[in-house]
């Protein structure tokens, strides 16, 4: 009990420190980089959802972007149709995606390994058809237009806030909440029982852990986190099929793998890499005479190479090295 409280307090201090650091750092940034940092935080939540799924069940999902889309659509349809505030939108996004995850998890608990990967990929691909099928609510190909709005008067009277900065200020508390929740969860009794199921199903069952139910719960929690990230991601301007393409799911997976599967710090590092890699490449080749065709495909090429290199050199990812030393 005492130990649990200590972890709880440690995680709170860690999350708050990161929050204050990023908040102060954002004042030194150009608007473009403030927007990029906000993007990192949004995708970070999506990667966290994979960290929970993979870290707690050993499975990978190629359709996490589709779960983000569920959250995005849930909040956006509420905001555009009923005029709800974005904060209510977040809550609804989480609950709607949790329900979706429950349905999916019930089917997915029976499925494993490559089967789950393929099925989630199909879900991600089927998304535009669903959006078209229910065009009146979901806006079809175009989607639903939403945004972060403007800061409330008590903030804008105090200090002038740019749109990118406001994005960051909304994304920051949401991402920190997800971070705090996830880090506590993985260290909690529930989180440890999930990892027990992951490492040895029979052993876990013998210890009195309900294996089938646990698998479904992991899916529900992972989906709910993805939904939160998706709602935030959609607020950048549009919730539509083009915002949550299959490549989004693959980006999330790449970030999770690069950083180190199951590691929360790794999730953050991986997200930083995938968001800033294109900028970094642009900067690196700006002096060179390279055709546009080449530079267009360079990020994708490097991502693939990084992914393969990670898998071959150290499958545990950037943060995995430290984990291994402990054993």
């Amino acid at each position: 009990m005492d130990k649990g409280k200590k972890i709880w307090r440690k995680n709170l201090i860690k999350s708050l420190t990161l929050g204050v650091f990023l908040f102060l750092l954002s004042f030194t940034f150009e608007p473009y980089n403030q927007g990029q940092l906000a993007l990192v935080l949004m995708l970070f939540i999506g990667v966290l959802s994979l960290t929970v799924l993979t870290g707690a069940s050993g499975q990978i999902s190629l359709g996490q972007g589709a779960l983000m889309a569920v959250g995005g659509y849930a909040s956006a349809s509420l905001i555009t149709n009923l005029g709800a505030s974005i904060w209510v939108g977040f809550l609804v996004a989480v609950s709607a995606t949790a329900i979706f995850g429950l349905i999916l998890g019930t089917a997915a608990a029976r499925v494993s390994g490559p089967y789950l990967a393929g099925t989630t990929l199909v879900i991600a691909l089927a998304l535009p058809s669903v959006a078209n099928r229910f065009e009146s609510v979901l806006g079809g190909d175009v989607g639903l237009i939403v945004d972060f709005g403007t800061p409330p008067a008590w903030i804008s009277n105090l200090i002038e806030v740019g749109y990118e900065q406001w994005q960051l200020w909304v994304a920051l508390p949401v991402a920190l909440t997800a971070l705090f929740f996830t880090s506590n969860l993985m260290a909690s009794r529930a989180g440890r029982s999930w990892q027990a199921v992951r490492d040895d199903e029979i052993g876990a069952a013998v210890s009195g852990i309900p294996v089938a139910r646990t698998k479904v719960i992991v899916f529900v929690v992972s989906s709910a986190i993805a939904g939160l990230g998706g709602a935030l991601y959609g607020l950048r301007g549009l919730v539509g099929p083009s915002v949550y393409p299959v490549s989004l799911s693959l980006t999330l997976l790449t970030a999770a793998i690069l950083g180190g599967v199951g590691s929360i710090a790794g999730a953050f590092i991986g997200t930083l890499i995938v968001v800033f890699l294109p900028d970094l490449i642009d900067w690196a080749i700006s002096g060179l005479a390279i055709s546009e065709q080449f530079s267009n495909y360079l990020p994708s090429l490097l991502t693939g190479v990084l992914l393969l290199a990670t898998i071959i050199i150290n499958p545990a990812g950037v943060m995995g090295a430290g984990h291994r030393r402990k054993h």
């Binding site: 490492d199 495909y297 693939g304």
Partner: protein, 301 residues
């Protein structure tokens, strides 16, 4: 009535191609325990090679052969450079739980690299791909017949390939060796079968099958780095429907999907194709998770 028959024939021809792609997935899954998400990326790459040969004035048939050979070479290279080292790598405790998913991630990385390279080499814009025979519907005195010469060509080619593969896997020593290596690697090794060589061979055969599927489907989809992603999804669904470890199941699954998709496109709307695929995938996994012809212990990993 004519619409219905032509839908059925087009569906069967496309289904034959899906069957081929699904068969490629099944061969690598049985032979090496990997679901190869890069398969149609490899096929896209070799179809580009064929397309470039044709554009530079070579004959279709030369391009056809070159594509098949480069398809099997690409499969071998992927196994030798990436998949075999991965399989031999000792798994540390933190990655043991990921053992089943690591090859999947590797195949996604390969897919990304192949698509980027194709984009860099051959531009990102779509181009057409020719057929060796006429792809317009036959005409006779009474009117238009509901199928084209290309439909018949596709069905014929796939039929020949299926017969050859059946002969190979049931009558030849190498084919039987491959099945033994897939069924029980330890015992096969004791009987003197070179198991890792058999694995490489599965990658080569699967690569050639995928390439052939690519050559046959691109006339109707056009060619760009991403066009064959859809075929991979359909082939995966076909393989799951038929049972991932059953070659016959893959063929049946491919035909079911081909005819089903043709019917949905003609009588429903093309937009619903994905929903239909998703529904089929869920239904099979809930009702018969091992597929129509799958064995009892399919879901390793």
């Amino acid at each position: 009535m004519n619409t219905f028959i032509s839908t059925l024939i087009t569906g069967t021809a496309n289904g034959a191609i899906f069957a081929l792609a699904a068969l490629g997935l099944v061969i690598v899954w049985r032979g090496a325990g990997v679901v190869n998400f890069a398969q149609m990326g490899q096929a896209m790459f070799t179809t580009y090679i064929a397309s470039n040969l044709i554009n530079s004035g070579e004959s279709y048939w030369l391009a056809f052969i070159v594509a098949l050979i480069s398809g099997s070479l690409l499969g071998m290279i992927i196994d030798l450079l990436i998949m075999r080292p991965l399989a031999h790598k000792k798994s540390s405790s933190s990655t043991k739980t990921l053992a089943a998913t690591i090859p999947v991630i590797a195949s996604l990385g390969i897919l990304a690299i192949l698509q980027a390279l194709a984009g860099i080499f051959w531009a990102g814009e779509e181009r057409g791909f020719p057929t060796p025979v006429n792809s317009f519907y036959f005409k006779n005195g009474a009117g238009t017949l509901p199928f084209s010469a290309f439909n018949l060509f596709v069905i014929g080619v796939v039929l020949i390939v299926l017969l050859l593969l059946t002969y190979f896997f049931t009558q030849t020593g190498v084919g039987l060796g491959m099945r033994a290596a897939a069924l029980n690697p330890e015992v096969a090794r004791l009987s003197g079968i070179k198991v890792s060589r058999m694995r490489t061979l599965s990658w080569a055969i699967s690569g050639a099958a995928g390439s052939l599927a690519g050559l046959l489907i691109t006339p109707s989809t056009n060619l760009s780095p991403n066009t064959l992603d859809l075929i991979l999804i359909i082939a995966f669904t076909a393989a799951v429907v038929g049972g991932l470890d059953s070659p016959l199941g893959a063929v049946i699954g491919g035909l079911i999907l081909g005819i089903g998709i043709a019917l949905v496109t003609t009588y429903g709307s093309p937009e619903n194709v994905f929903l239909a695929i998703l529904f089929l995938l869920f239904a099979v996994q809930l009702i018969k998770p091992n597929g129509i012809l799958g064995g009892k212990q399919v879901r390793r990993g």
